[in-house]
């Protein structure tokens, strides 16, 4: 009954999970002096492991699986890296490596070796966050995913209030309360599912899921909880102050990666756990909230005076694009959901937004360091002072708007074609409107950055290697634009076993 069996490359999945935990415990036990060395070594090793897993998935053409402790589900817990998880793991490690290079400047331990709060907390929580993300991408057990979500919340919340001012503490507390409410709803759903099926394993649930009352209540509760954690439209109030208040390196990781984990869980619940086919009304409702997110939060982004708050609102808007995927994929003619254009478009939107948003937040951090403030109105002279950063910001903006040749263009075009194919005209209209709104708020920033500097403006120098880290992220976001315009079969690997 269970398709699981430990495949040859399986032990690498355990490494991907345990490496950041061992690094975090090492920094905690050895103190800050070794923190940066340990953190950078772990980041590089983790990148190598993620790439190795991706290659193994591509080469073997099937999902890399590992049964923890050798116990088969439903008794034991299985880790599985299918095509989608491999792409997400590589994305996560690349972004974290460049954030690591960027953060070396602002979170370096003092030369006299004394232990200071900010760098110690940042490096330990960054590694904790990474192990949580890898667990979310790999775990095949609903309760392990709950523990991973809690791990994610516990790593992300202290990062928001790292500078300790009163409004960031308030934003962190509100974020924690929303996240806890979401987690408890998700846990309630898992409890009901165990009561109904006696298993927590996604693959076995896929085969036994019935479209009865208990399952729909359970999945409804879980998805509502995850919507709160993914900051979908009515439940997005906590995100902008939290992501804007965090230091630049932390808000880049929060907006690019942490917000995506709950969405991926909704995707997994929707296409792997729920009995197929799901009612079209449910998909339309999610897409409706996504569209509301896009329109409402893009307009809010336009009205922001501070750069980081604007980028945070644009995060909520771009996450709204992801929720458009559900009706597009369900309505598509393709026999398997992951063969449809909408699926690849959605995943590409997630990945290109991650790189673009990380680059934008890091660029905003550098601009704020150079100018001393991040008021959009008078960013004049930023282009002269930190030209590479403003260029990176513009390139990332390109991908956000969906202009060729950036990755955002390919993903939004795929979503558009899927919308046209499935005759969801209102989704097509929303995608176009979202693109235009994104263009306005990006050009507003780039325009004011290119303006003439005020007389006597003195700017702090910013080390080049940090600017290059931001530029690499922006270039990756643009390079994604050269992918072919049809469904990527890599994303379909390992999903064969799930009709």
């Amino acid at each position: 009954m269970m398709p699981y069996a430990t495949t040859p490359g399986g032990w690498m999945l355990v490494l991907a999970l345990m490496l950041p935990v061992v690094g975090m415990l090492g920094i905690f036990a050895l103190g800050l002096r070794h923190a940066e060395r340990i953190a950078h070594a772990t980041l590089l090793a983790g990148l190598a492991v993620a790439l190795a897993i991706a290659v193994e998935v591509g080469r073997s053409g099937q999902a890399v699986t590992y049964l923890i402790g050798g116990w088969r589900p439903p008794l034991g817990i299985a880790l599985q890296a299918d095509g989608l998880s491999a792409v997400l793991m590589v994305m996560t490690s690349v972004i974290l490596c460049s954030v690591g290079v960027f953060a070396r400047g602002s979170f370096s331990s003092p030369p006299d070796g004394a232990e200071v709060r900010r760098p110690f907390v940042f490096w330990t929580l960054l590694l904790g966050l990474w192990s949580a993300l890898n667990t979310v991408w790999l775990a095949q057990d609903l309760f392990s995913l709950f523990v991973a979500l809690e791990l994610l919340t516990f790593s992300a919340v202290p990062l928001v209030c790292l500078d300790g001012s009163r409004d960031t503490l308030r934003a962190a507390l509100r974020y924690l309360l929303f996240a806890l409410a979401g987690s408890v709803f998700y846990l309630m759903g898992t409890g009901l599912i165990y009561g109904a099926y006696g298993t927590m394993d996604i693959a076995s649930l896929h085969q036994v899921a019935r479209a009865d009352w208990a399952t729909s209540v359970a999945l409804g509760l879980m998805i509502v909880g995850l919507m709160a954690k993914a900051a979908l439209f009515p439940l997005h109030l906590w995100l902008p102050p939290a992501h804007a208040g965090a230091p630049a390196a932390a808000s880049a990781v929060l907006s690019a990666l942490v917000v995506k984990a709950p969405f991926i869980l909704i995707l997994r619940l929707w296409f792997d756990v729920a009995p197929q086919p799901l009612p079209a009304a449910a998909g339309a409702m999610l897409a409706g909230l996504g569209a509301a997110s896009i329109l409402f939060c893009s307009i809010m982004a336009l009205r922001q005076a501070r750069l980081k708050l604007m980028i945070a609102y644009s995060t909520v808007a771009q996450v709204g694009y992801l929720f458009l995927v559900f009706p597009l994929v369900m309505g598509s003619a393709a026999e398997m959901p992951w063969d449809s254009v909408g699926w690849t478009g959605g995943v590409l939107q997630l990945v290109s937004h991650a790189f673009a948003k990380a680059a934008m937040f890091l660029a905003a951090g550098l601009i704020a360091e150079a100018l001393g403030h991040d008021r959009i109105a008078d960013l004049g002279g930023a282009a002269k002072g930190v030209p590479v950063t403003v260029a990176a910001f513009a390139l990332a903006g390109l991908s956000l708007m969906g202009l060729p040749p950036a990755g955002g263009f390919i993903s939004k075009l795929m979503l558009l074609t899927a919308a046209v194919e499935t005759a969801n005209w209102w989704i097509a209209a929303t995608i176009l409107a979202g693109g235009i709104l994104a263009a306005t708020y990006v050009f507003r920033v780039v325009g004011s950055a290119l303006a003439q500097p005020r007389a006597g403006l003195v700017m702090k120098a910013v080390p080049l290697n940090r600017e290059l880290a931001v530029l690499t992220l922006a270039l990756i976001a643009v390079a994604l634009g050269f992918l072919p315009l049809q469904p990527l079969d890599y994303l379909g690997i390992g999903r064969g076993g799930m009709p």
Binding site: S165, G191, Y194
Partner: protein
């Protein structure tokens, strides 16, 4: 109406009461208490599933019981973090981080 079903209904009521407090109470400390209430109700659902799954000579299905123990630990850690965050927010009257926080109005001496 077995005891398990009765406690299941009690769990549903606990969740409803806790959710009422979680949404309505403006004070963060009361929200944390309400969150714990909803958590207790949720764990009772696992308890009901465990009690109903009592076969093969066990008093109850050990798997959901193990999950409840893990869940209680995580819920306690969340409460401790939320309360510490709440106290620090009320203490940090001063926006500056470095100096010791001067006492705002509603903190006992």
């Amino acid at each position: 109406m077995t005891p398990a079903t009765l406690y299941g209904l009690c769990a549903a009521a606990l969740v409803a009461i806790g959710l009422f407090g979680l949404i309505l109470h403006p004070s963060p400390l009361r929200k944390v208490i309400s969150f714990n209430l909803v958590g207790s109700g949720t764990f009772l659902f696992f308890g009901v599933a465990a009690r109903r799954g009592a076969v093969a000579g066990f008093l109850g299905d050990p798997v959901p019981q193990a999950m409840v123990i893990t869940g209680i630990v995580v819920a306690f850690a969340a409460t401790a973090l939320a309360v510490a965050l709440l106290l620090r927010m009320l203490e940090s009257g001063a926006p500056t981080v470095d100096g010791p926080p001067e006492q705002p109005d509603d903190l006992s001496p």
